[in-house]
């Protein structure tokens, strides 16, 4: 029983997915670009839905609001200020991800770095020159964040704790620590003494980020230069040095690393410290650029960095591209939203989500090849046309021809409802014909026709035409649907005649099998008017013939 069911239902599928051997580099890039374009198109629909021109919006967004802006230089400066922390944080995270150490505590490490560097700036005040000050802040923030990250690594190495949970929870500890510093609690170390409300004080001037002026009013934030140099450094560190090699091996298999004589714990501790160190340094630069602490100091780089690192496949060069893209998206969106007030500024997050989703989904097309088998439709058609025959050959139960039975019934119901002017007797006549016919044909087939269904399919239409042409001369001038109707009723009548006279050729038998299916389908497909007209004619011709 199960086997029969399967043969009936299961067909070779329309879409088949196979694995690709090697994805071409340019092909993958093309897919990614295509994915981003699709994501932007979806975003465009959303933007258009609030009656804003999406192209103008995107233009504003992708140029981060520089065009036609008197203060374009300010926009670029602000853009760099938000881009650098994201780039550095993503680099730090990709380092630990490369070792399959799931550091999702970028947020916490960033905050700890920010608190420490701000504390250093306030404590040292103007004792150091600006350059030294920034170096001290970067090192201090880096080391503090590094220790904060190291904490998780030590627990992991010593007790095998889960680093994902640990780093996640430490995020909140850092965040609430920062919030605590923003309350009047006695020391008020970070707060503005002149304000009644607890707000963070501006940092001393010596700790402000150094900028290189020159191009008009635009001045370059040196942290950008540092970040780009650092990217190259990380690239070399990961791909060329022994440490990078160890990270790869540990990430691949700890057992292999042990086997090769590596000190796995040491590698994990070192890499995690380094990873968090970079994030802390990024936060020090950020604090020095914004000149103050704030509750939203991280700008979610710890989370966004995870996205960037994965989009870039943990490749430092890719990290630069991905973080640039995400920064433009976020920063540009805010700028564009300032112009188009109908669009909420959270659209950036929405777009980012859509892009990420589609890019990750497009990965599928890089790994797998989708083959669409168009012959599926042809096969399905054949299968649909043939079940009566297949059933008949497979099983010789009298009740097995239910599908064709039902179809005929459905047709009759149709006819009943729509052709009220046709006499009941005529309908009954068709009905009885239709009922007799499949049963007879079935028995005939099982008796002497063990052919394949396709064969009879191929033969049937030709014979149909030939036989029909001499009978239905009168209907030739009517329109197509009517003609098909006439054909149908004709064949019904004819087959009925044949079965009753029981004098038939083999070819005619074949015809009887294939016909009812096709004709019944035609009936349900054609218009009601044609149907009634056809039915009338059919009845008439049938009577005449008799």
């Amino acid at each position: 029983m199960a086997e029969k069911d399967l043969t009936k239902k299961k067909q070779a599928p329309l879409i088949r997915i196979t694995k690709r051997a090697h994805a071409n580099k340019w092909f993958s890039i093309g897919i990614y670009v295509g994915a981003i374009v699709i994501a932007l198109l979806i975003g465009a629909v959303l933007i258009a839905s609030v009656k804003v021109d999406p192209f103008a919006f995107y233009q504003k967004m992708l140029t981060i609001g520089t065009i036609g802006n008197k203060f374009a230089y300010k926009n670029i400066e602000n853009f760099i200020a938000s881009f650098v922390p994201l780039l550095l944080t993503s680099l730090g995270l990709s380092l630990s991800f490369k070792m399959r150490f799931w550091n999702i505590g970028g947020e916490g490490q960033f905050i700890i770095g920010a608190i420490t560097s701000a504390a250093l700036a306030i404590a040292i005040d103007d004792a150091l020159s600006p350059i030294l000050m920034i170096i001290v802040m970067a090192l201090g923030g880096g080391i503090a964040a590094g220790i904060y990250g190291l904490f998780t690594a030590v627990l992991k190495v010593k007790f095998g704790t889960n680093e994902t949970l640990m780093t996640l929870m430490l995020n909140y500890i850092a965040l609430y620590l920062l919030k605590y510093f923003q309350t009047r609690h006695g020391t008020d170390f970070f707060l503005n003494p002149n304000s009644a409300r607890p707000i963070f004080n501006l940092l001393p001037e010596n700790s402000w980020m150094i900028t290189i002026g020159g191009i008009g009013r635009f001045s370059l934030n040196i942290s950008l230069i540092f970040a780009l140099v650092f990217t190259v450094f990380i690239y070399i560190y990961l791909n060329k040095t022994k440490h990078g090699y160890e990270i790869c091996v540990v990430g691949d298999s700890k057992r292999t690393a042990q086997y090769a004589g590596m000190n796995v714990s040491k590698v994990i501790l070192r890499t995690m410290f380094f990873s968090a160190f970079i994030i802390g340094m990024a936060s020090a630069f950020h604090v020095s650029t914004t000149n103050t602490l704030s509750e939203s100091i991280t700008n979610d780089v710890g989370w966004t960095g995870i996205v960037v690192a994965w989009l870039a496949r943990l490749n430092p060069i890719g990290v630069v591209i991905a973080s640039l893209l995400i920064s433009i998206l976020q920063f540009g969106c805010v700028q564009a939203c300032a112009t188009y007030s109908a669009v909420d500024s959270n659209v950036a997050d929405l777009l980012q989500g859509i892009i990420l989703f589609i890019v990750l989904a497009s990965d599928f097309f890089i790994r797998y090849k989708v083959n669409i088998d168009l012959s599926y439709f042809r096969r399905r058609k054949e299968q649909k046309a043939a079940p009566a025959f297949a059933e008949a050959t497979a099983v010789s139960e009298p009740t097995s021809d239910v599908t064709s039975d039902n179809e005929v019934q459905a047709v009759i119901c149709d006819a009943n409802a729509e052709s009220s002017d046709v006499t009941a007797a005529a309908v009954e006549e068709i009905k009885t014909e239709a009922f007799e016919q499949p049963e007879k044909s079935e028995t005939v087939i099982t008796a002497d026709l063990p052919h394949s269904d396709t064969e009879s399919e191929a033969n049937a239409p030709a014979e149909e035409e030939k036989q029909d042409s001499d009978v239905i001369e009168s209907t030739e001038k009517t329109d197509d649907s009517e003609k098909s109707e006439a054909e149908k009723s004709d064949t019904l009548k004819k087959t009925a005649k044949k079965t009753s006279t029981a004098k038939k050729t083999v070819s005619a038998k074949k015809e009887t099998v294939a016909k009812p299916k096709q004709t019944t389908k035609k009936v349900s497909g054609s218009s009601a008017k044609a149907k009634t007209g056809g039915a009338k004619k059919a009845v008439k011709t049938a009577k005449e013939d008799k």
Partner: protein, 578 residues
Amino acid sequence: MSEFAVQLKNITKTFGSVVANNKVDLNVRKGEILALLGENGSGKTTLMNMLSGIYRPDKGQIFIDGTKVYIDSPEDAKKLGIGMIHQHFKLIEKFTAADNIWLGIEDEPFDLKDKFRHVDSLYPCENLDKAALRKQKMRRLSVKTKLCFSALNYKIVNYFRTAFLNGSRFDKVNKVAHDFGFDLDSRKKVCDMAVSEKQTLEIVKVLYYGANILVLDEPTAVLTVQEIEKLFSILRKMKEKGCAIIIITHKLNEVLEISDRVTVLRKGENVGTIVTKDADEQLLTELMVGEKVDLKIECEKTDFDETLLKVQNLTVQNSEGTNAIDDVSFELRSGEILGVAGISGCGQKELCESIAGLCPVKSGSIMYGNENIAGKHPLDIINMGISMSFIPEDRLGMGLAGSMNVADNMILKTYRNAKGFMPKSFLYPFVDRKNAKALANKVVEELEVSTPDVDKIPVRRLSGGNVQKVLLGREIEGNPRVIITAYPVRGLDINSSYCIYDILNREKRKGTGVLFVGEDLDVMLALCDRILVLCHGKVMGIVKHNQSTKEDLGLMMTGTGYDEIYKDEVKEEAVTNG
């Protein structure tokens, strides 16, 4: 309906650019055991995976009992009565035997459509006038409605019967197992089972689901001689009951013993089907490999006589705190291959790893020359200048880094070394990739590793034999004095296996001592000079290869002492000595 239980016609399957199967035909009769033979990567498992619904063929048809079928998923295969027993068991370790079976049990389908048809036949609508027809239709409708309710009822009852576990499942499974003639404790957890028990469970599982076409993928790879005999007797029993059985294996002697016919695949193509009676090992090998292969394993005598490694009273604990290695003592001499035989999990792994410094030693000593290396860190052992190579059983999980390329894997142990003029290695921060690539090319060339590239393709993507060659190649490049290899030919085809044996013999001639942990006793008896038999971490005895038989070794592996088997000889020795 048909003479054949399974017919595969013109099956083609490609993975990317790799053609795994090319127009393969295969038939199995009912009550027949067909062996499927072929080298690694010849597409045997792929073919069987298509039969069991894991893959779908790109082209070609599958006929079960003469009916054309489309197998879309393992579910479909199960419905068609195809049961596959995979090389790596698909069992849940923490579940009992019965629960593992219970997991896949489905409701009996309630075929509503079939019932409806029956109703239609009970209330015929032919030759009725309009009023009667309407009446008849109403009758049909009311019966059909009732049927719908009963189907719903059936579903709910069935859900409660299978969704909640009750105690009777143990008895049910036990009964079925007993009916099929198996010995199975359905209350035992899988993690407490021996390998052969797990295999029995897998077989019972597919039989419980009503399989009458069994596919076994390398079932004997993990079994001892006695267990294999038992498995074969089970298979013969199944055959008598009319099951069609397809068995994939590398071992020719097993093919000759169990199968009725053999189908040989080579590079994804069917190169012929032979009745087993007319075949012999030589013929099958030639078909598999496509050329004449010398099937003799040499065991030369060498003139070296130096003790390389002396293990004394070694005791090693495993992670659970029991003694995995219990008071083991032996010597490894230069120019010999010392085999280690034993049922898997009898301490072979711990023995190898403790020598390589990867496993803490509880007591005892491992002397290399005059130095005790027991309990030292692998890095220390490397730094002490001890040229020892450990080729672990888990090639990709331990011996190699799977996602790195061949070149990078070549320097896994030597990446620390200084380059050129640098006096101390730590002063030179970079990895020497140029050298690595040269080394990789050398190994690829010498050992005929087939890989498109040494620095682009991750090792993971290479076939089993090639992975092993890369690993062995790297270790041999270090000119070791001692080689420890655990199951070096596991999962390798015959050609690659003989290639590995040749390499080991070549090293032996150079005066290297080889510790060979193996599983195929025939091979061990032919290849090794001496064989040490382990049973539950204890040494049952060390026998010379030309003075022992497979059966003796099998007995020793299951716990019979050396003295018991060789009673007469021991007595004789005692007499001559005393």
